[in-house]
Symmetry: D2
Subunit: 230 residues, 4 copies
């Protein structure tokens, strides 16, 4: 694959959605870069998709800068990282709450700033944020995750308004439901056929949103299994 | 094309979005049926796409029944009709307001009931509703259109919750901005390149939502030009 | 009470919220007019509060005109009427659906137009709409009510934007939960203490919103019991 | 005033809304505690309302603990602090963005945890959060403030769901517009009569929400001037 091929950067890469995204991007002729705090688990995915692996803590400004210095200007950046603690509010650990905000939202800011700088220079690009049902509804005993995901949505909305007219497509995805692991997820079978989100199916929608013509861009797209209560 | 090919029914067919949809459906190997109150303008589109034309006032229960009796069970139904009056609220004509509600929302109910009856029997189908920015925001001097489009969205939400678990994909599209006419729209050029929604681009997204795997269905998708204020 | 006292008109008056509102208004020194299709049940409330009773089908334009011709220009108008059918969507009766839209939303338009005409002439007034959780969420097997209540909310939003700057306070209340009947409601006790909305408590909030200074008006206020899931 | 009088704690006290709140609370027979990073400006307000002044950085866990150790269990806690930077996204300073999140949202978590611990022990209380239009809409060139205010709203929603059934009233206020300074604000006059929110008017609504009966609690209340565009 040549440097002329568009580059997709997936931040917060793991074995689920980001693996599917990496495969879809590679199949679409894109070069792929995968960034994660721990890249040791990504070796086989890297080989399969030809993706370059980058160790990066997305909540650390210097590491984010180093990541973007190490790659070409990306055409598509997806921000996935989140950290989640749950439980009765009065028992929550303060530092864990801070970490939830930092990983889920502040890291999104850092990656967005680095990505948009490159995209504005080239006059194009897509910047996608992965949200959850907690992005639009604050559930009991889950305040920190709601704080982080609400904040990420606020960031995405603001960026869509500022950078849309600069030809950069900012979108936010509300994933409402559990994501099944590839290759047969026992939790998924317990919920009946297709009762959890297939990561390939999510990735398919991300790709179709990335391919949208700029006269009709989506900002927010919700995704949930057919049987999900909402 | 054989009867084994899936059937798309576009209700409220005109020259813009529905023409693009008809072409996309035909190109995807679907049979197409176009329903409109006045089908005289649809002749060339009918020839081009092989679509059957059906005269039907979607706000009239008997005509809706007759339409569905005349066609096979559809795989995809799109409800587009709307009627719109604007102006200072105190000057609005009562019968025009009633008509706005009837065409924009009550017709959606009639078509949904007829469509879902067939889809439930077959255990599958997609039912899509075309909304507008007025679906989520009631603008000054535009109360009747807001009433109709809010109501249509309420209908769509309720149906998604009831019929999703019956394997029927109900989705609602928020079209935020003016739709350009095909073949060069002078209003569009005034707004700059791609400043109005290209109907082909909208149709492309409708098709990608129709093709979604049921483990990751979207209910609501917004679409607007890159330069649109929102 | 003299004609100089401000007038409150409650449309869709029954034994619950509107009775509480009538009492609060009377206690606040307002004259009260109660409009309902069937006023025979309102006799004792009329005597208690000194309210004038007006038979009026709010969905009938001529009756709404007659109502407003029979009363002085109101300072506060509350629109309560709704009609509700529920059940599996495929079994819904078309005329019942039409009636739901007409009573719940179109009647709101008729009353709003008559009320706002008088309020604009005097340069002041409050126009309040009673919504429900169905105003913001379309529940399964309850599409018609969602259509009507969504439409009423769209109306209210549009009117708030058009008539706020004319010194008329338009507000929409989302009543989320069952309203208890006065004097001990067996359904309420089953839900535990204060498990259903006390109509006096709702009316208290309506009055505090009516008394708001125009530099800080609320448009939308939700109300639900402390134990309600939402 | 005796220790039997209920206690209101206003965190993030300044000269605007919190001064009005302090006066309303004192007038309603409540003891008042004012917490702010810099309490030197609060001396005259303290004297006027009899309020105790507490120096406290709400984003510092130890200072928040010290604050709550120094006061009785509060009946009403209002969280006001926010920090705001604006400007083109690419030029935003990272540490300023972090500070925006920390002051606007993480401090809200710290205060909420300390307040709710006391309220749960006593089985009652009100915890109010002051939001802004940025709580529900992410404006261009204002991403950090949107992140902070969205996060605070997510926190408030989650807490309302968890602590409502514990008899604690959690509410979130969306202040949409500029708040006028008391005693004649030149910016306000430029916007016409009552074109900015009068802090006394806001405080009046906070008090009426605090007095709500628990069978009909509001979670979210918006407030804006009659002439405000929204």
């Amino acid at each position: 694959m040549s440097n002329a091929n568009p580059l997709a950067l997936i931040v917060g890469a793991g074995s689920g959605l980001s693996a599917s995204l990496a495969r879809k991007c590679a199949a679409a002729g894109m070069r792929v870069a995968l960034a994660a705090r721990d890249i040791s688990k990504l070796n086989s995915l890297g080989k399969e998709t030809g993706a370059a692996l980058h160790a990066c803590d997305a909540a650390d400004a210097r590491q984010v800068e180093a990541l973007f210095s190490a790659i070409d200007a990306p055409d598509l950046v997806v921000y996935n990282p989140s950290y989640r603690i749950r439980g009765p509010f009065l028992g929550l650990d303060r530092e864990e709450v801070r970490k939830t905000l930092t990983v889920t939202a502040y890291g999104g800011f850092l990656v967005a700033q680095a990505a948009l700088k490159r995209m504005v220079e080239r006059g194009r690009g897509s910047l996608f944020f992965t949200g959850a049902s907690a992005s639009v509804k604050g559930y009991a005993e889950s305040a920190p995750f709601a704080m982080g995901k609400f904040a990420l949505r606020g960031l995405a909305q603001s960026l869509a308004r500022e950078f849309g007219p600069k030809n950069i497509h900012v979108a936010h995805f509300v994933i409402d439901g559990g994501i099944a692991r590839s290759g047969g997820d026992p939790r998924a079978s317990a919920r009946g056929a297709d009762g959890m989100l297939d990561p390939d199916a999510i990735a398919e929608t991300y790709m179709s949103i990335h391919r949208q013509h700029r006269s009709a861009w989506s900002f927010e797209v919700d995704l949930r299994p057919w049987v999900e209560k909402f």
